[in-house]
Amino acid sequence: MTEPGERAPATADEVMTVVAARELRGRRTCLVGIGLPGIAASLARQVHEPSLVLIYESGAIRARPTRAPLSIGDGELAETALDVVGVPEVFSYWLQSGRIDVGFLGAAQICRYGNINTTVIGPYRQPVVRLPGAGGAPEIAASSREVIVIARHTSRAFVNRLDFVTSIGHHEGGDSRKALGLPGDGPTAVITDLGVLRPEPDSRELVLTAIHPGVAVATVRERTGWPLRIAASLTETEPPTALELDTLRRLSAGRATGSAG
């Protein structure tokens, strides 16, 4: 083991990934969405919750990746999985049936109620930026018992109003999600490179509940497109441990050998 002193300090992205991984502690099954969730889920399984079952839209059930997969259809996932089922089955027998504890999603845009846009910036028919689209996210967001979101905290991402609701969070707040007939609790945590947002119990509006070491509350507010409220119990994130950081860097290095970021 290297001494902490010899280690480069954690980047903001690394803190985000480490904190997101911690959020999976005590969970049994996680459907790992495309993008940032991939490496955090791998880290959680290696450091916190070896029995955590990682499931991917590509059909890999209980994948045990030893490097961060580049995509949700990576060969590594199939090769280390307990089972690989067809894509229709993963959505019907595994997700829709309510067998997923945590849906773990990224977001291009997210609003104060945790609704997510991954479809388009600007009007749908005259897009300013066309994003990749929904993928599995709408049903992951709807059918998982709870949802954890990971996203870089920029004012372009954390907006007052989404250009397009791809995947439902707490809808218009309060009981409005439940009124749509959706199971599950919706987003319970949004992990960013600045801190952690969680829904206030009644309004379901996202408020800042934890802030990462060295980040100013003012910075978080600046980069949030709605008047962000701060939880009375605001805490500071525990910095990444040596084990977390070493494991994350080992996972990332494995990914780099795949040579595409």
Binding site: E57, V87, V165
Partner: protein, 288 residues
Amino acid sequence: MAELVPLADAVADLVRDGDRVALEGFTHLIPFAAGHEILRQGRRGLTLVRMTPDLLYDQMIGLGAAERLVFSWGGNPGVGSLHRLRDAVEHGWPELLDLEEHSHAGMAARYSAGASGLPFGVLRGYVGSDLAAHTRNVSTVTCPFTGEQLTAVRAFALDVAVVHAQQVDRDGNIGIWGISGVQKEAVLCARRSIVTVEERVDQLDARTRVVLPSWVMDAVSVVPQGAHPSYATGYSERDNAFYARWDAISREREPFVEWMRRHVLETADFSEHLRLVAAETAAAVGSR
């Protein structure tokens, strides 16, 4: 009954202008060789169907072969945008691309319903999403037992399905293992189908998990590495470096067209394409 034929013959016989065609593959087993052959033969006006359009559909859209895209996620996984897809949608270049957009769950239900000979599929989906308001072929249905309202999606009825697979046996049956996506459903949804494979074998590998019996396909072509830069578990690794390089190749219109002309349209077949790409990869590594 599937016949073993050269890929060019299969495409000439089975893919027509204006067809509704799915070239499927969920990261794994994407039929690049067949897609290139469709471009070489100049097919136009296609409706392209696929859950995860990536580089292959970017190429086909960028050359103007498609007039509509039915899909659920269009990006370069782990890299970023599909620049040609975006250019078509954002700026109508080379022509405006009509989008019909779904979620993965909805697309999967459409494939399953089509493979099952049903006119629609049922799911808990699209609820609370703006998708349903902006797309076609999504509706609702009421459970006759509970009164609950669910989402209905129209079954796929494709003209042609094209997939890549690992093996064909001597009777023309196809074997797939690893991530199988909707390869089986796509073929079963289609009136005509083409499968490219890595290898012809006496007996399918014991790892085979998905079988396409000979009589459900029209043509099988042996095209080693026919999924490159995607991969075939047991035969090849995903060429992640090429996926990363595609970002630069595809970013601007003219260089993209020029690249496609040299590497696809003016090549005789996929093996020539692979040789060109491999030589450039080697040069790039050497110059690092």
